[in-house]
Amino acid sequence: MTTSVTSASSLPDAEEEPPTLRKEEPTKEEPTKEEPAAKEERKSKRPGSGSRSRRPGRAVDQERLNTLVGGRKVSLCVDGVSVSFDGFRALNDLTLVLDAGELRCLIGPNGAGKTTLMDVITGKTAPDEGSVYLVGHGRDLVGLAEHDIARLGICRKFQRPTVFLGHTVFENLELAMAGNRSVWRSLFGRITPAESAAIDAALETIALTEQRDRRAGELSHGQKQWLEIGMLLVQNPRVLLVDEPVAGMTHAETERTAELLVSLAGERTVVVVEHDMDFVRKIAKKVTVLHEGSVLAEGTLDEVQADPKVVEVYLGAPHADG
């Protein structure tokens, strides 16, 4: 019984993975995505990623963490992470230290590894080497399952707005709500007045109060983006990873998104990946430039833009919005 199941279960993985990944990876941050859903699915099925996610995270190497932190108030450290997809090195010994409450922008040409970095932090992709530390949590995040990392308060917004299209706006927020997410609780628990109030407050913030009972599928593109941001809000995150939040937004919506992200930083650490340099200029205090999977430069936007290495990289890839 069991043997027939397990041997059959390895089939789709083994057959599908290697060739598609090789083709997919170098172009994976192209602004026009073909079927991101299909791509995500393939990536999440990386051979071994399932089994790796069940290994409990290693204990934090406290000494190493102290050298990284260096006395600052830090929320998240990415330490020496490397990821390669069949020879293509998406991330190359990347180290990134995020201060508590800062708003950091990640920029870089296509294929620099921005999205892969988010995949590693959120547990979607298991790195070949390296660690991810959430300060205050005693274990390496590498090796934890996606939902466990989300429960620790690391939340993510995707490039393409991913909300539950068949659910109402209210239900979307209800599902995202922080709290006990066990089957048992979902079977017998009921929404508390406090939770209901938190959802109403979030609806207010993202200006969707009137759309409360509409299906998310009926919302405009910009509204969907906002709904997804609202879902992150009610998750009450410590670290927010936001991938291209203003793609496809109108000018006014972009303005409001900028204000919202700036207001969120302070209590939370916010990381924004964005191609739109005007938007980055509006919100960023500190910018990190990624190139070929490692950090190329770090500083204010002006410093970074004056850096000859950065200029060279962007001139080498003139199609990026740099």
Partner: protein, 373 residues
């Protein structure tokens, strides 16, 4: 207060009234038409129709169980016949042990064991002379198999058509296993020649009527349980898993746990349906495990309307009603009719018969409004 909330969440007032009316028809009116009317009168429900209805109710339970996972969690099982058959075999073992000493060979062992020259009961038959032991086995054996199967399948993130294909393989593998005489479950012929259940003779129409009433009652309860699940938060999480599994994970839910719960629950319901089925048809054999049987269950659900629960039950009655008529009148045409039904529904009625009904109702309402204005 809480109960009122839950009931209100499950159905509107009108929905509950319809449910009550349906329950009255199934549990009171139809039995009365059978027992209180004199045979031969126009209103009398003949005994063979009672048996047929009881059988259909079993199919409807299986269809509702399948719809719970297919319609709401997006997991298409083409192997639910496995759980149905396991439940059926558990009940069959009880019924067969009930005729110890009354078989052809007057032996204390079931006939097929005597025929195979076995001297004693295999270990896994022990305890099945107790009705409640057998009934309990009809629930936990399918449940355990589903749990183990689902645990590995969902952990390996097998989804969509791959999952469906593996469930087909599962039912085929089990069919081959049950065909073997060495398996100890009657091989090719299965288990049959039952005489009584819990002391009541199965040949009596009154026993069959009681079995029908119990099955109809179980169908109604199964429907309510499933309805409770899909209107609770679990249901919303499951629909979210169906539509956007990644997002669900990044919201902090473990989709595997949710899938495993609903998958196992569905299998247990299916096992119960199988256990109720066997005393009404009088036989259980490996043909119940044919891959086509499991596919037929999916067709019932699709024809009636997937993702509605009521539709699945209705589909089971409709398709099997048509089947009974055709296999009587035009047996060789039945498979073509079944195929045609499936194709037509897929092409023209994506929401099944229930979807057509609600659409027509809405249209009628709209024209009435337009006429009044």
């Amino acid at each position: 207060m809480i109960l009122k909330d839950i009931l209100g969440r499950m159905h509107t007032r009108r929905g509950w009234a319809t449910f009550g009316a349906l329950a009255l028809v199934l549990l009171v009116l139809l039995p009365l038409l059978n027992s209180a009317m004199t045979p031969g009168s126009a209103l009398h429900l003949p005994d063979h129709l009672v048996r047929l209805l009881g059988k259909f109710c079993c199919f409807a339970i299986a269809a509702v169980a399948l719809d719970l996972i297919w319609g709401f969690a997006g997991i298409l099982s083409l192997g639910h016949g496995v759980f149905f058959a396991l439940g059926g075999y558990a009940m069959g073992m009880y019924l067969l042990l009930g005729i110890r000493g009354q078989g052809v060979y007057r032996s204390n062992l079931p006939d097929f064991m005597v025929f195979l020259d076995w001297k004693e009961l295999p270990w896994f038959w022990h305890g099945f002379d107790n009705f409640f032991f057998a009934l309990f086995a009809a629930l936990w054996v399918p449940g355990l198999l589903a749990f183990a199967f689902g645990y590995f399948a969902f952990r390996s993130r097998i989804r969509g058509v791959y999952f469906s294909i593996i469930t087909q393989a599962l039912t085929y593998a089990l069919m081959l296993l049950f065909f073997r005489n060495d398996t100890g479950l009657g091989g090719n012929n299965g288990l049959t020649d039952f005489k009584h259940i819990y002391g009541y003779p199965l040949a009596l129409p009154s026993t069959q009527l009681a079995l029908y009433v119990i099955t109809a009652g179980v169908l109604l309860i199964a429907y309510l349980l499933c309805r409770y699940i899909v209107t609770a938060k679990v249901g919303r999480v499951l629909r979210a898993v169906r539509d956007e599994e990644n997002r669900v994970m990044f919201c902090g839910y473990d989709p595997r746990a949710y899938k495993l719960f609903v998958w196992t629950f569905s299998a247990v319901l299916c096992g119960l349906a199988g256990a109720l089925y066997v005393p009404q048809v009088g036989i259980i054999n490996p043909s119940e495990l044919q891959p086509s049987n499991s596919i037929e269950m999916a067709i019932w659900t699709a024809v009636g309307g997937r993702g509605t629960l009521v539709g699945a039950a209705l589909g089971a009655f409709l398709v099997n009603g048509t089947k009974s008529w055709f296999t009587g009148a035009l047996p060789e045409a039945w498979l073509y009719v079944l195929g045609a039904m499936f194709i037509l529904v897929t092409l023209f009625l994506p929401q099944g018969v229930i979807g057509l009904g609600t659409r027509l109702l809405a249209q009628a309402k709209a024209t009435r409004k337009a006429g009044a204005a």
